[in-house]
């Protein structure tokens, strides 16, 4: 038997310094995916090159590969503890993970090492606690099939962070459906804690036609495992036609990179006639950039309105656009399919922190 020796792999001699310069140019030009393999090649030859490692960490950060980015930058701090860009990168990683206390710690280290640095000062400013007040205003208009009149909805809510994880809020919703107007008022308390949160809401529509006369909701979420939360929402609502009770357990997962969140709920309702109905809803949210988040969802579940619980299939698409650090614009499209009619809704909203 003739054994053909394998051909030797082509060995390309690349000057690590040229490769490094090319990688930095890629990263600064917004091509982090091209920079990463080049920097890894440089580090294979020069593992002590902290400049290459910092650039690798920052390129991985730009790609949303946060765990790898953090490992690279932590290694830089071990080899070169006073490397300011490493601490800045670590702060930005924690900022992306919404771990602001740790982000502030890393940023304060950068500020200590580089007092007066403009980038570090801007970073620290962006990590300041968000203002305690939040105002949300929104409006929606729905077109119904079969020549039925449009629905309109307007909502205003105001909430305030009270400290120690507590926040309180109130909302007013004015809806017009089939020429009847309901005004629904709601008060809500939230309590956030490490790895979870709880909420309690009480609302009602005086002289209700189709909204609940009185409604009570309680729920929360708790961390089951890294990146996985369990959710539970329970509610009881008294309508002019009877009381509807809901219990909706669910799961929420955040994918590595922290940009994509998936959630699903099992919808269980005991309707106004005492009949158990069930369904599900699923939602995906993608933080496309620091300022733009996109969401898409689908539900096939019972819904109570106009005094009756009916099965509804609904798909929705939406976007949250950060106009400034404190102002967010929300756009949503909803398409519902129910036995009596179909509904298409366009919603617009603004959220303002102050």
């Amino acid at each position: 038997m003739i054994v053909v020796p394998p051909e030797p792999a082509a060995v390309v001699q690349v000057d690590p310094q040229n490769l490094y310069r090319s990688a930095v140019a890629d990263r600064l030009a917004g091509r982090p995916a091209e920079a990463v393999p080049k920097l890894e090649q440089v580090l294979a030859v020069r593992p002590d090159d902290v400049d290459a490692r910092v650039n690798l960490g920052l390129a991985l950060l730009a790609l949303g590969r946060l765990d790898e980015a953090e490992a690279a930058l932590v290694e830089v701090t071990r080899r070169a503890p006073t490397y300011v860009d490493a601490w800045v990168g670590l702060a930005r990683i924690r900022q992306r993970r919404h771990d602001l206390p740790a982000a502030r710690l890393a940023a304060s280290e950068a500020a200590r090492l580089a007092p007066g640095d403009a980038e570090v000062s801007a970073l620290q400013a962006s990590l300041e606690p968000s203002p305690p007040w939040r105002l949300d205003v929104g409006a929606a208009r729905s077109r119904l099939s079969g020549g039925l009149p449009d629905w309109t909805e307007a909502r205003v809510s105001l909430s305030r962070r009270l400290g120690d994880g507590w926040s309180a809020g109130a909302a007013v919703e004015i809806t017009e459906r089939f020429d009847n107007t309901d005004v629904y008022l709601e008060a809500r308390m939230d309590r956030a804690f490490d790895g979870g949160g709880l909420y309690l809401a009480l609302g009602g529509a005086p002289d209700a036609d189709y909204r609940p006369e009185i409604a009570f909701a309680v729920g929360g979420h708790a961390r089951l495992a890294p990146r996985i939360d369990a959710t539970l929402d329970a509610s009881a609502a008294r309508y002019p036609t009877g009381t509807v009770i809901g219990l909706h357990p669910g799961l929420r997962a955040t994918l590595p990179g922290d940009r994509i969140q998936l959630s699903a709920r099992w919808i269980n309702v005991r309707d106004e006639n005492g009949v158990h109905r069930s369904g599900y809803s699923a939602l995906a949210r993608w933080q496309a950039t620091d300022r733009v988040a996109l969401r898409a969802g689908y539900a096939d579940a019972p819904e109570s309105s106009e005094g009756a619980t009916v099965d509804v299939k609904a798909g929705n698409l939406g976007a949250d656009l950060g106009v400034t650090d404190r102002l967010t614009l929300r756009i949503g499209l909803l398409s519902e399919d129910r036995d009596a009619y179909d509904r298409e809704e366009l919603s617009l909203g603004l959220g303002w922190r102050f």
Binding site: V74, I93, A102
Partner: protein
């Protein structure tokens, strides 16, 4: 005089990096552990002079580490609990288990540095006397 040895046990790589940086700059010899089990091994091998211990860690939490360290007589080194838990029962529980101090995250690195210095100064005579002691 040799530098005091400090063990940092925390599962957060950023906090480990920050504390290593700060305490090394202050002249200490610093070792790290990523979980409670590693922390116990490091204590047995390195006999640190002070331990900074996170309460919530994988494999074995900080309270269990503290219980074994102090209950089992594994180390006389003062322990600073460094944790996000700020309920009174957590703080009192840690102190009852033998923690010398308790810092709630987010902490101020300079404050930790001061507490480390104070505890090491306070513990010096006792530590020197107990250095050769071994668990029964």
């Amino acid at each position: 005089m040799s530098a005091s040895r400090i063990l940092i046990a925390d599962d957060d790589p950023l906090l480990r990096a920050l504390l290593v940086h700060r305490l090394t700059a202050d002249g200490y010899e610093v070792a790290t552990a990523e979980n409670g089990s590693q922390a116990l091994e490091a204590v047995a091998q390195q006999q640190p002079d002070l331990i900074v211990l996170d309460a919530l860690m994988p494999v074995m939490d900080g309270f269990e580490v503290l219980r074994r360290l102090k209950g089992g007589g594994l180390s006389d080194a003062p322990v600073i609990m460094l944790t996000a838990l700020k309920r009174e029962q957590d703080i009192v529980g840690a102190l009852q288990l033998g923690a010398a101090d308790y810092l709630v995250k987010p902490f101020i690195p300079d404050e930790l540095g001061h507490r480390v210095r104070r505890l090491l100064q306070m513990g010096k005579p006792a530590e020197e006397g107990s250095r050769d002691r071994r668990p029964a």
